[in-house]
Symmetry: C2
Amino acid sequence: MTFLSESDFLNFINRYFPLIHPNILLERGDDCNLISSKGNLCISSDLFLEESHFSRQYFSAGDIGYKALAVNISDISAMGARPQGFLLNLMIPEDLGSDFWANFFDGMSQLANHFDLALAGGDISRARFLGIDITIWGNINNRCLERKRCRSGDVLFVIGQLGLARTGRKMLETGNDLFGSLEAIKAHLRPRLFVEQAVSLSDFSGVRGLMDVSDGLVRDLPRFLGPELGADLLIREDNIHPEVVKYATSQGCCPVEFALHGGEDYCLLGCADKGVMSELKAYFPEFMYLGQVLPTPGLKLSGVTYQSDGFDHFSNMI
Amino acid sequence: MTFLSESDFLNFINRYFPLIHPNILLERGDDCNLISSKGNLCISSDLFLEESHFSRQYFSAGDIGYKALAVNISDISAMGARPQGFLLNLMIPEDLGSDFWANFFDGMSQLANHFDLALAGGDISRARFLGIDITIWGNINNRCLERKRCRSGDVLFVIGQLGLARTGRKMLETGNDLFGSLEAIKAHLRPRLFVEQAVSLSDFSGVRGLMDVSDGLVRDLPRFLGPELGADLLIREDNIHPEVVKYATSQGCCPVEFALHGGEDYCLLGCADKGVMSELKAYFPEFMYLGQVLPTPGLKLSGVTYQSDGFDHFSNMI
């Protein structure tokens, strides 16, 4: 079955997302929606495009719907905020029928329901390839956790796994999961989110900044530190997920280096006063100590200068 | 010149849009931006895709940048609200260099500066075709003007021109402006916006509802009225822009019918208590009386039942 009209398609969406929701003031379908804000709102928008961000070769329709929303939720978490709702713009190629869209909206609405997000509105258009563009907004808890707030001597940490999604992607690309890397594959298709952890982090006054790692730690860390500071990373192989270690080793790579170039980790990268580290470690089971902030720019790995690039949307063209 | 990296491109954007602005709380470049809201915010998001929404055959880069933002501003006006800022997601094909982008951002920033809009953030990605996705937010004046607020007997009106952009598009498509239709061409490439008019309309308590006409009046009017009501349109040829009349007549079309199927008019369609009409007419030079709301569904043209379809993104595929 295909959709005969725009309103057919919009009615189909309504099966998965309620027209009204406590986080929006208007029913979906007007020129805009209205958001009632009790304080500052954080807002972000991300593209999720076929061939650039996902492949239909190994993403099911449900995975695409899920991940398109997940990467946006991750941006809200990266501020220590709680997601409230989103706008959905769809670029729709002609070859996709209602089976695809049923699974797509099923995957997306699973996640939306889990975090009680409103679908506020959006736009649809025919296009030559499948693309999803989501804008998400969230409420700040007590304060917003920004980038570039580190101080020399601070502790760096992540909540989540480095390199796991990259491992999963490699398995999916080769179509050959030699190692039974189920967690890695899941990390790539349906990344774990750390919404509650992010909100809790904003309650610790010693936590100074937060971001989400999407282009690989070696690329994102300098963005987090800003141009004045550097870091010494003290990551041991036993900090890395065993599926990453197994795959990297099989490829003759150093598992720690492989993990540092992750990409699409969607884990949280934070910095905190070192006095709060033991508290954080006790509070968050996913806490992983990364190293410490240095007073001068540049990355070190266990004291040795480290130089390498991460992912760039211009230089790493598909 | 082409861009060597993502940060090259982002630095280029910074030449056109300030990193900080009174309408945003953070510098562009974090995972989210922060909006300080003093009341309810209205928010909307629109796609503007090559081949679906514009053609590079007759849109200059500056026109594309201008119109991508204009259609979003129109959505905010449609609520009687004032635009504050936007997020910009770009799908970037490889064949476009810095000359293109200089003109693109020049066109877009002209409009952003005119309305004092902040560029809050966004996303960029390589893609197979050029696409712009903008999310815009605005502040409600004293109240929000929604769709489906008409009552039987209300006056219907538009602020702006019907069919003018369609005339311009026809000229541009054929590449042959036989009639010197300069206003029509401008209406298609750089549509006029009615921000101040929209905000002022929300000050008239007799004005009940508002929307912007984007898919042609015959298609948008039923959306505005809702399923319970209809309208009798009393439009005379002398209400239609002379460039529309001239073109429609040359094609053997009725100018009024041609105008009703406009598409991309981006004029404001409103309804008001009939007692306020003379005031509105005196206040807004662009006011055009359309007709009146009927208690039963269906459109009439000067009392005669009228049936026709407008633009549908699914059935009118390119």
